[in-house]
């Protein structure tokens, strides 16, 4: 199982720039998602043009079908905020290549069944979602070394040194940020260091 815990209100407010479409995923039963808190928070956000609540956005075909009737409003949006696990955010980011797609949750693991994601993208459930700085491509799962501060230099013609069938995750991130005109994202104030001791997931309350 997993927990999709809301990022702080300040963080989410800062992400909602311009016309904003919100996508909530209420798919997996295996996910604890703070639906009520998310609803309350979303009411206070500026610039929201549409709130879409759907399920299994991790499945690209399903996602496309579900969003079909919202095409116009999505095309007109500047930002898409996704309330889901890391897989859902990555699927939305891949579908809307040129849009700013942001994650509003951090995904934490819980023991038990992990849900069904028949995909080649994955969520490492690291509890400190990096997708907002990486153009919606996860450095934990798209990079063989799970590096957080850019490519290792081992890629040859864009392919990973570990798995020659796999594209270098950081080259993908760089190209995506280039496309989004967001290369400044790679100029962090301090290098990123992963926190493997992340006790901050709140216990689900009944």
């Amino acid at each position: 199982m997993l927990i999709t815990q809301l990022k702080s209100k300040e963080t989410i407010e800062a992400l909602a720039q311009g016309k904003t479409v919100i996508i909530n995923c209420h798919g997996c039963k295996e996910v604890y998602f703070a639906e009520h808190e998310a609803d309350e928070l979303q009411k206070d956000l500026n610039g929201v043009t549409q709130i879409i609540t759907t399920d299994y956005i991790c499945n690209p075909d399903n996602l496309k079908l579900q969003l079909k009737k919202h095409t116009d409003v999505i095309n007109a949006a500047d930002t898409i905020l996704v309330f889901s696990c890391g897989v859902g955010v990555q699927t939305v980011a891949a579908l809307f290549e040129g849009k700013k797609v942001y994650s509003c949750c951090d995904t934490y693991p819980l023991p038990g069944f992990q849900g069904v994601t028949p995909l080649n993208v994955d969520c490492g459930q690291c509890g400190e979602c990096y997708l907002n700085g990486t153009g919606g491509i996860c450095p934990i799962t798209a990079c063989s070394k799970s590096l957080l501060n850019g490519q290792c230099g081992g890629a040859k013609e864009g392919m990973c040194e570990v798995d020659k069938e796999m594209e270098c995750g950081w080259e993908r991130i760089y190209r995506k940020l280039e496309k989004l005109n967001k290369l400044d994202n790679m100029k962090y104030e301090a290098p990123k260091v992963r926190n493997y001791h992340n006790p901050n997931a709140e216990e689900p309350t009944i």
Binding site: L148, G154, V162, Y174, K187, P191
Partner: protein, 300 residues
Amino acid sequence: MRITELFQRGEFVLTAEVGPPKGVELDHLIKDAHEYLKTRVHALNVTDNQSSVMRTGSLATCKVLKDEGLLPIFQITCRDRNRIALQSDVLSAALLGIENLLLLTGDYTTLGDHPQAKPVFDLDSVSLIHAVKRLEEGFDIAGNAVDGAPPKFAKGAVVSPCSDSVDVQLAKMEAKVKAGCEYFQTQGVYEPEKFIKFMEQAKQFGVPVQLGLIIPKNVGMCRYMNANVAGVHVPDDMIKELQADKEKTKAGDTGVEICARLIKECKDYAQGVHIMSLGWENRIPEILDMAGIAPITPVV
């Protein structure tokens, strides 16, 4: 001595790479270092389980070289140690008087002779540079104070000027500089025009860069590197040059000539040269002679 002091003095800084053996007999390495390198290069890089192949440690070998009156550069990768072990080894280096570091992410475990090993990569080259800088400021990466006078190092890193995605390399280089990197050694260069173009862009960071050279021993090695080694490309005309006179190439003379020529062509754009001879340490004096680089006065 920290090699950053040499750069500051405006010296053209010369370094060569040596690899500890798989075993504890260092006599051969030490003898070659004295015979061929001591008066030709300022410092010796000691590789850290190079290509993910388990060998005697870099830090211990650095100490042995230092005791021999040579100036070692301790290469540290993030493949085999977590942040606790990395910082501990950096402090251990300070304790042993090793002042030069080259900080790398490291090859993946599956490339070497222990493909079953757990890859660590808790930190990466950028966060490792940051961690060393924090130690120099008197704190570990978790923010705890370090007792006594903090250590001071020359913090180096690598960059690939001939990478097929040089813009991504430059972004990473900038991140390394921002984290505290003070000098760079490049991946093997065979294309001077690419190196020169790269240096025009890299100049903005204001950090010295040593031209990296891998002695091309034969055609097979070049083809292997072209297929497998990231950031390295041996152009076709150079491969033809190696094919032209088989005896000369076999004797190593073609590779020596190529390296000397690359130094001459890139010298004005670099702040030094770093030679990765892969066992051909004995050819380094010839390369430098042919490139017009005089012997040096050893510094320790």
